[in-house]
Subunit: 257 residues, 2 copies
Amino acid sequence: MVLDVIMLFGDSITQGGWSDGGFGARLANAYSRKFDVLNRGLAGYNTDWALPVLEQCLPTQHDQQHVPKIKILVVWFGANDACLKPSPQQVPLPKFTDNLKRIVHLVHSAESPYYSPSTKIILVTPPPVNTHQRLADLASRDPPLALDRNFEVTKEYAEAVTAVAVASNVAVVDVWTAIWKAAGEREEALPKYLSDGLHLLPDGYTIVYEALMKTIGTEHPELHYENLQCVFTPWAEVDWANPGPSVQKREAVISRN
Amino acid sequence: MVLDVIMLFGDSITQGGWSDGGFGARLANAYSRKFDVLNRGLAGYNTDWALPVLEQCLPTQHDQQHVPKIKILVVWFGANDACLKPSPQQVPLPKFTDNLKRIVHLVHSAESPYYSPSTKIILVTPPPVNTHQRLADLASRDPPLALDRNFEVTKEYAEAVTAVAVASNVAVVDVWTAIWKAAGEREEALPKYLSDGLHLLPDGYTIVYEALMKTIGTEHPELHYENLQCVFTPWAEVDWANPGPSVQKREAVISRN
């Protein structure tokens, strides 16, 4: 398939990232002809259920020679793990932390069958929940549903994501704080960014996109789209008399030797 | 990488399909958790230069076991091939026709190293050119450029795409006619769909998206996103007590046995 990959692995907020104004579609556009951006969002999933999926999405060391390299793995969970009991989506905070560490270990531990030291992991914190907006949305359903998430609990899960990133020495995009600050730390300003108190509107995804690109630029600048070349050369550089050799694929990452 | 693929292979009008309102991003959103939609758009390329690229993007028969299957290959050229001389992008009409046939043969001929009879090919005609809009855009450049495309020539290339599709027994999406009819067959109405007389605005991409989904629905209904299942099961169907076995990947295409 030729192009290496940025894999966006997460829940519905990742899956919805290809809707209008979504961060996934914007990433794919920015990285066109450089990396493919793959949607591995799983609506409703928590980290307990996502872990066995990830093992299927990562190539084993043996298979890595046959398939595109995962250059960046974005891991964005917590919005469902932070559900309130008795939701079956709820994962206790210590287990959530452990699951995130297991995800990092799957990729970065030399003992893992999926070991890929060149894959850069970026953890992302869940966005803040607007309890009022969420309650109104759930109450409007038929039958009405009870509140299943709240502001303070999701905040704790967001802090846990950052703690795992620090402990595991991987980058983090703190979407929780970025959106909370953009809202002036006022819950009543969150509806500019959240459609239903949980999922993101285009203005929310814009914050995610810009924060993610900034993090790539600072933590892994060699993988920022502005620092990559097209895998297939720009048309003005094609050898028009004998195009074949001039359009042979090349690494998007530019060698700095 | 788990998910099978829809590959969009074309020129800048394909490459730009992940911009806001673009047909690629919309396809990727519709097919999320079912097929990956890959951008293989190559701005400025004609079919002469694209052919050696395609040979690198298609897995050989030997490699097909290791990589995702290409379920649909959308081939959308003509906008550059139809350039006027002395543009180096120009490909004479008989050669353009021959190149399109070679693309189909690469995939559907049993003698080809890339033979993949299960890959459905959909050819797409280039959109109509608005000569006035294009001329104004080129005249505004520094230095000003002469007109490089015109309405009648691109129309001939569009007709050639349809002829190849009929002769090769593959589906065609006639974007040229769809946009021309939407514009009431009036060149002065084309700026609703074209940004610079050549590239598409969101209203143009909407026509492309809808025509493509309609063609998939009629020609290859088993591959329409509404008829596919998620490769990883919806969260409400996960076995919460023992998630692993319930989230094993499965074919997106539903077996009708």
